[in-house]
């Protein structure tokens, strides 16, 4: 029988080719790059250094990253379902987990390229225009450096990958591309805006204890991302003791969203196929 590896490779390559050949994704990538560069330019500007750029970008990226994840992923599964290709793939004995993994991996690579590309442009602009101390490759207290910006890029990609997992799940649940778009947009707004609001409400209504605040924030994807950036990028350079967030729990929170979403997507797709 053909192996899962063979099937994964075929599906993964098809996914990448689909993304590369779809002009909309190129436009999305160019839009993301322009927006990221524009945000830094209208903020402190490239000459202010890597960390000011991180601070300028952090809040907008909390919203932009899920939006890009939606653009990249909302059609991923539901379009195959609408076309009837999922039923055809069943006749090739493709397990649900192989299909979801390949679809996700292909789209994840595209999303990562979009995010990393834009942030790399920013990094290059800073390297060319900022003061001489930003060129110091260091991660210890009080020094702005490209390494810290690199961490920010990695964290942003991880946040994007977690959100893409949620969008792929929505694409499995939806019955049409329209409902997938609506569900993904609604779901992300609910998680991103609703999560923080729920934590605040919990604190004000006192059903959430103050000492469990970091744990609660770690379960909200954008809060976890924000916490990780403060804890491992901004906080490191500012020289203040850590304590912005529970870094480990935040990382686990993002991983949980990713693994939970993809696990649920595999389970639901498997049920749908039967």
């Amino acid at each position: 029988m053909s192996s899962a590896r063979t099937q994964f490779r075929a599906l993964f390559v098809r996914e990448l080719r689909t993304v590369v050949r779809t002009r909309v994704y190129l436009l999305v990538a160019l839009g993301v790059w322009a927006l990221v560069v524009g945000l830094v330019a209208t903020g402190g500007g490239g000459e202010s250094g890597y960390l000011p750029a991180v601070v300028d970008l952090l809040l907008p990226l909390e919203l932009l990253v899920p939006a890009v994840a939606i653009a990249v992923g909302y059609r991923s599964v539901v379009a195959d379902l609408e076309r009837g290709e999922l039923a055809v793939l069943e006749s090739y004995d493709v397990p649900a987990w192989v299909y979801v993994a390949a679809i996700y991996a292909g789209r994840a690579l595209a999303l990562s390229a979009m995010l990393v590309g834009g942030l790399l442009v920013v990094a290059v602009l800073i390297a060319l225009s900022a003061g001489p101390d930003t060129g110091i490759y260091a991660t210890h207290t009080g020094v702005d450096s490209p390494v810290l910006f690199g961490r920010f890029v990695v964290l942003t990609v991880i946040y994007g990958l977690a959100m893409l997992g949620v969008v792929v799940l929505v694409s499995v649940v939806a019955q049409s591309t329209r409902t997938a778009l609506a569900l993904a947009a609604g779901g992300v707004v609910l998680v991103v805006a609703g999560g923080d609001a729920l934590v605040l409400l919990g604190l004000s209504e006192e059903w959430l204890a103050v000492d469990s605040l970091f744990g609660a924030l770690a379960t909200v994807p954008n809060s976890a991302y924000r916490g990780l950036v403060f804890e491992t990028v901004v906080g490191v350079a500012s020289g203040v003791d850590s304590g912005y967030a529970a870094a480990r729990w935040s990382a686990l929170g993002l991983l949980g969203w990713l693994a939970g979403s993809l696990g649920l997507a595999v389970g639901l797709l498997g049920r749908r196929q039967r």
Binding site: S2, T6, A10, R17, T22, A87, V88, S91, Y92, V94
Partner: protein, 253 residues
Amino acid sequence: MTETTPAAESPQPAERTPAGESMLTATELTHRYGELSVLQSVDVSVPAGAVTAVIGPNGTGKTTLLRILLGQLSPTEGTVEYTGPTVDRPIGYLPQQPSFRPQFTAAETLEFYGALLGREVDTHAALDRVGLADAADRPVEALSGGMRRLLGIAQSLVGEPPVVVFDEPASGLDPSMSTRAFEILADRAAAGTAIVVSSHDLGLVERFADRVLVVHDGEIAARGSPAELMAETETESLWDVYDAVVHSQRGEQ
């Protein structure tokens, strides 16, 4: 475009099930959607080297029967047993409305399906078989509906599955393309493949099917070769058989 010898795709002759022997046997199939019973105690045998046509009015359980035979739907009761050779792809499938990713050419589409089986498909031969050799490098989005259906037929045969299920292969095709689609089915049956086809085109079914199952109200109301069915009902065409079987049962109700 990748070209390999067609033999690279075909199973060894020794693996072929002799014509007439059952490849797929469904026993006592019953399927219910909640309280609604769609199939009741249906027995079906799909022999190698023959075209088995499933006909019947809309909503009588044909698609449910096909999905169960394909393994895409588990029956509420009963079993389906595949007894053909052990291959990567035992059952090929043409859905009612085949559609493919528009960003790929016809040849690339077949290459993709071949890659799922870890094989290089002879795309030229596969497309030539369905009359699409000239459209090999054309993007799927530039193919007409009929051409996409023919591409779907080519897809259903990738890996040379011993059993192929076609759901309305002639739907939406002009008369010559419809005939072409059924000729391809008959060719594959002549090569030893077990073909199951559902169709409303009774003229083509009468011409090309070796066996006909008339499904009505979730049961097999009649079965046999077109000639046998016409003799049993003392009629002169499959349409008259269909009319006699379906309408006599409605009259009884």
